[in-house]
């Protein structure tokens, strides 16, 4: 097992959440990121801070899509039975703005699994409000 890469800032996980072990330098750079099990489903979250904001003070769409790539990818990987996957396409709709201090959660759903392609969608929320939805396609490496 490789050693996880630490994030440049330390943030305490919310109650019931644990630190995600990150092995991608860019995910560690924007982290820390958190996760927990909820009724057998794994959900993910992070606290938005000043590093993540755009010039209007909202969470930058690039940060939201980075968070999406990380955890839709981890859902695809599980959907592919642990095989490696790469992103083919990802579409995001930005429903509402998130602000610094918000805890943004991600819930993923495997829409379809074929031998070579995994279809994953996700919903991103702050409290009860959805801030982004995403759909994505992943290629299972070595399969056709």
């Amino acid at each position: 097992m490789r050693t996880p890469i630490p994030s440049p800032v330390t943030v305490e996980p919310p109650q019931g959440w644990t630190l995600s072990l990150l092995h991608d330098p860019f995910e560690a750079h924007v982290g820390p990121l958190f996760e927990r099990e909820e009724e057998g489903e794994r959900i993910f979250g992070f606290f938005a801070d000043e590093r993540h904001l755009d010039d209007q003070g909202a969470v930058h769409e690039g940060m939201l899509m980075t968070f999406a790539d990380a955890f839709l990818g981890s859902a695809a990987h599980r959907g592919a039975g642990g095989k490696g996957c790469v992103t083919l396409s990802l579409q995001a709709s930005f429903l509402a703005e998130a602000k610094a201090g918000d805890f943004i959660e991600c819930r993923t759903h495997i829409d379809r699994t074929t031998r070579a392609i995994i279809f994953v969608s996700a919903r991103f929320s702050v409290g009860d409000e959805d801030v982004m939805t995403a759909t994505s396609l992943w290629k299972v490496l070595g399969e056709r």
């Binding site: 750079h29 930058h60 999406a68």
Partner: protein, 132 residues
Amino acid sequence: MSSRQVDTSGFGAYAGPVLRNEAGSFIFEISDHHLNGDDRLHGGMMMTLASVVLGAVAKETAAGKSEGATVRPLSLNCDFVSAGEKGDTVEGSAEVTRATRTVLFISGELRVGPRILMTATGVYAIKGTDEK
């Protein structure tokens, strides 16, 4: 050729820098902290770069229509055509497909030399024009 940094916001600067040269091209150098676990450009960073390039063109177009107008992304679609490697210089470009009074359609691409890394389309809402 001289260049200036675009998107100097918290995340634009933290993930970047993304530069723009006098010819109007967006330039980004892939460093260690932009990589994924396979030493390739992270997909999140690639989409961030696309969002900065398309967003800058959207912002500029909105400001050109009405002084002080800003934009908000409604949708971004990114296709991962090929991988970027550490040390590569990525060049981005984008153009306006259509501009209505309230919405902009932007399409763009990221390349390393002649090789396309990503094609992207975005829909942006124009804020601050004709809104009383």
